[in-house]
Symmetry: C2
Amino acid sequence: MGHEVLAAVLRVRGASLQVMLWERAREPHAHRWSLPGGELRVDEDVESSIRRQLAEKVDVRQLSHVEQLAVFSAPDRVPGPRVVATAFLGLVPSDVDPEVPSDTAWHCVDELPAMAFDHASIVARARHRLGSKLSYTNVGFALAPPEFTISLLRDHYSAALGYRVSATNLQRVLSRRLLLEPTGGTAPPGPSGGRPAALFRFSAKGIKVTDPFAVLRPPGSGRPAGGGGTT
Amino acid sequence: MGHEVLAAVLRVRGASLQVMLWERAREPHAHRWSLPGGELRVDEDVESSIRRQLAEKVDVRQLSHVEQLAVFSAPDRVPGPRVVATAFLGLVPSDVDPEVPSDTAWHCVDELPAMAFDHASIVARARHRLGSKLSYTNVGFALAPPEFTISLLRDHYSAALGYRVSATNLQRVLSRRLLLEPTGGTAPPGPSGGRPAALFRFSAKGIKVTDPFAVLRPPGSGRPAGGGGTT
DNA sequence: GGGGTTTTCGCCTATTGGTCGAAAACGTGG
DNA sequence: CCACGTTTTCGACCAATAGGCGAAAACCCC
């Protein structure tokens, strides 16, 4: 029984969320688009494997986040011999534009082309996971450059969530979580003018990226033990 | 490359959280305790497989919740040929006491015996996942009988989280999420007297079990679209 | 310098979580 | 049958957080 690893690598471009896909040249499902990945080797675990395979597509240093998504294991999910897939969610910050092979391109997640196998449902799962985690972790920073303005972050959140979020509120919520640290610098205003936006960087004083926060907290503590919590 | 499925099946017993384990009779790791599970067959997906394998241990109808946990894939996680494991979290309500085979027993999660392979880390992951999800989903009801008192639910939450939670607060939070529905009945008081407790059942009007709620909500909506959200 | 634009910040409100204490509803023992 | 302990339930109050609005700040161009 074969085992493959696949990744839905997402990024924000302008106002839309995009996923990295490559076009299959050969059957089965020739000319349909599929997620990057491949066979798991015997000497690597699934995370090493997906990082190795993604390295053939993009510079792995530009991946700001990688996490397990789920196992897809329907017996007929691919034609031929049985293949189980471990799917990952990957994120790329918006300030880099990795070189990709000629058969590979970014597609907006709400205008997906004809997809191979069950890859469309994997992308859907990745979108859902990202949207959920934006609320209670700091994965949002993985979408943004190391230094960013609140407006940019707001736009990224909006693109990933599919609805506009308020910059005022986003700043206050993230500040309370001790996740924003002003760099002191400012970004130049756009061509139409406007007040220069202050630059921020991500602060590690807050929660860890994978830690959900506890709504029902240990008694007496404003935030859960272990260094951090958020709303 | 082999693929196995494993489950950390948890339940609350009195004031402690327990996990179902069986004692290995043969090498490797003879006399160490391991999670139920086994080989994935070619004609089933991972969830069917874990349900089938758990059926050999307990009545599957008594499993109130099953969800994917993570893939464990370190090349040397088991001796011999490579085996990748898909781990699950399972829950059993506290009112049933499933018959288990003679080599199988429940163990308190904070007094685990010598565990086989990487199974201890899988149990740790399951505990963490349950604790997190108690806060923002309704998995808590999967630990309780169909009808329950607030005190019982409070005790189950306390056991699973490892700290005491307030019954007052638990009731208000769950009520606001529209998850509690009074049955009208009451439970008889204990031997030391006391006011009879009102019985409740889980109400499906609230959030779905796997849906996290959005802290950053769509504008204008008190709760996210799609049937429910919570704080 | 005036008008347009964008960011930032302070107020106000609504919702949620946490704590406390009183009242309700039971059993028991004098 | 009445005082007492026990447990549940409920209301009141407080703290923290999220959302909305509008004014002020800081820039552009003309």
